[in-house]
């Protein structure tokens, strides 16, 4: 959180430069996030993201607790996607300690992770349109669907958002047959919602005018800046950790990775819609293939786990991008080093590059298309 508002150097001969501090309580920043913007007229000539308002040193807290104790804290990173956060952390611990996961647990992990992706993308699309001035209606449509997924999470784990559901070696509770039927009943409604959304908006003139060509990100810069997730794929780079690492059982499912062409806000918006369709496909296959069996490796000591000294990096494709956890063990019950690779924060690296030369109103739309959650940016 650094502030260098005071050194203003008007660029000679280019008119007056105005400093605008957008945030930390601007409604479009989706949390406590600030942008130090310098404007020439309406044009952005400099933009520095400033964050850290929610910093609580999550990593230090986790290093002070046992391996098990960090799981509920990971819920609070990207608080819209607690299930995938749990998975990323559990995957890292499983790699560190050499733990295997029963097949049924792997299937349920895929189901809840894809439901998480769906509700995150639905929420994002709603928020993005809200930022563009489509006040209320699209957001309410998106939240109507998101609500159904959160109800499922509540009946499975007891909590709508802070699920605390996964454990290294498996899951905390099993999914009942009734719950799986509930998911099966929900599935046909999801493509209908997407059709409705697309019919309304895909060729909408205002949406196209505001988003096409806005916030362009080139392929080369996206790769160099470590941008991941739908944002990377909107720039045309075919990189999805589900396909590359095939963690869990993702090699068993048939799905495609949508790719964009222009790397602008419109492509990023479409990427989310298309990914939601693929998510529905994965869910259908997972629900068909789920076997009976245990959900927890009985040999795993949840309390008092002492992995051998060493280190491991586990990463998953979270809805926001590559979510990774890097752990160093010194042979005791607490991790010696616990590090989160926050996709939201790293995707912000190129925010300035995307916004330079654009109007200030486009900054709002560009930021909306990055999909940040400040709980994860600040940790």
């Amino acid at each position: 959180m650094s502030n260098d508002l005071l050194e203003v150097d008007p660029i000679a001969g280019q008119g007056e430069i105005m400093e605008v501090s957008m945030g930390p309580h601007h409604p479009s920043t989706h949390g406590v996030f600030r942008m130090d913007v310098r404007l020439e007229g309406e044009k952005v000539v400099r933009l520095k993201p400033v964050f850290g308002y929610l910093h609580r040193n999550h990593e230090k807290i986790a290093e002070h607790g046992a391996y098990l104790a960090a799981i509920p804290y990971t819920d609070r990173l990207d608080y819209l996607c607690s299930m995938t956060n749990n998975w990323g952390y559990c995957l890292a611990v499983e790699k560190l300690a050499g733990i295997t996961v029963p097949e049924r647990a792997e299937y349920i992990r895929v189901i809840v992770a894809e439901l998480t992706r769906f509700q995150n993308h639905a929420g994002l699309v709603g928020f993005l349109l809200q930022d563009m001035g489509a006040s209320g209606t699209p957001l309410m449509y998106a939240f109507r669907e998101r609500e159904k997924v959160l109800d499922l999470f509540e009946s499975l784990s007891g909590a709508r958002m802070m699920c605390n559901y996964m454990r290294f070696g498996g899951l905390r509770v099993d999914a009942t047959a009734a719950w799986l039927d509930e998911v099966r009943r929900l599935l046909p409604a999801l493509p209908r919602f997407l059709d409705e959304f697309e019919n309304l908006l895909r060729a909408n003139e205002i949406l196209m005018a505001r988003t096409q060509g806005t916030g362009r990100l080139s392929r080369e810069l996206a790769v160099s800046a470590g941008v991941t997730g739908p944002m990377l794929r909107a720039s045309g780079v075919n990189y999805d950790v589900r396909k590359v690492d095939k963690y869990g059982i993702y090699d068993r499912f048939d799905f495609r990775v949508p790719l964009g062409d222009h790397g602008d806000v419109y492509d990023r918006y479409m990427m989310r819609i298309l990914e939601m369709r693929e998510t529905v496909k994965i869910l259908e296959q997972a629900l068909r293939g789920i076997p009976e069996g245990p959900i927890m490796d009985p040999k795993v000591r949840l309390r008092g786990l002492r992995p051998k000294a060493g280190e491991a990096y586990g990463r998953i494709e979270s809805p926001k991008g590559e979510l990774g956890f890097f752990l160093i063990s010194d042979g005791t019950t607490n991790p010696y080093r616990y590090r989160v690779r926050p996709p939201s924060m790293i995707n912000l690296t190129i925010l300035e590059d995307m916004c330079l030369g654009q109007n200030i109103a486009d900054v709002v739309v560009t930021l909306g298309s990055v999909d940040i959650v400040l709980g994860e940016v600040d940790r």
Partner: protein, 210 residues
């Protein structure tokens, strides 16, 4: 998807491609078996460029950058030393005496980079660069000119660990506030015993500089 050569081969390739580079393999005892490469500070950036541009490795994606704090360690061993002592009758006698000898191994800060290839879809290759000591501002070369993704993450390691990345374009605190003078992720950091809500500088010295 191609597979990566073992780290020993990558080490040999760096040593052949970057004259003078010092590379050591750091073994990893966990089942993940991700051994890493420790680069000497002097040639770290050249080695990183080599890894990025190598036609087969093409490690174009630096996923994770982080700091690790390794404290000073002290090992003690008992050694038998021959010493001349004055006996009870006043004569000089040579006897064996047991002594504890302590050796202090100085700690260091470490920057760890996880590299992947988006083009070849392989990885990770883990590289580490160590500072000379655990002084307040300990230096390593910045790899931001090689991979843009290091920009914010190196700033974070600077902010929380006090690792100064030489050559970083914009090395400022990122999560803590300006004027904060300590490095909270260090293992020997003691949180101040003051009002948790007061955002006034505390700790060692008021100025923060790279």
């Amino acid at each position: 998807m191609s597979t990566l050569p073992p780290v020993e081969d990558i080490k040999a390739q760096i040593e052949a491609g970057v004259p003078g580079a010092v590379v050591t393999v750091v073994q990893n005892g966990s089942p993940s078996a991700q051994h890493s490469l420790l680069l000497g500070r002097e040639h770290a950036r050249d080695a990183a460029l080599f890894l990025r541009d190598h036609a087969e490795l093409r490690l174009d994606f630096c996923s994770l950058v982080t700091g690790v704090d390794w404290l000073d360690t002290e090992t003690s061993e008992k050694v038998k030393v021959k010493k001349v002592v004055e006996g009870p009758d006043g004569t000089q006698q040579e006897t064996e005496v047991e002594e504890t000898r302590k050796t202090k191994i100085p700690g260091y800060l470490e920057a760890v980079y996880h590299l992947f290839s988006m083009e070849k879809k392989h990885g990770p290759v883990v590289i580490r660069v160590r500072t000379a000591n655990r002084a307040d501002y300990a230096h390593v070369p910045s790899l931001t000119p090689v991979w843009r993704s290091c920009e914010f993450q190196e700033r974070e390691a600077f902010d929380l660990y006090g690792i100064v990345f030489d050559g970083h374009p914009d090395l400022r605190r990122i999560l803590m506030w300006d004027g904060f003078a300590d490095f909270p992720m260090r293992k020997d950091y003691v949180p101040p015993d003051d009002d948790a809500l007061a955002t006034v500088p505390h700790g060692k010295s008021p100025e923060v500089q790279a």
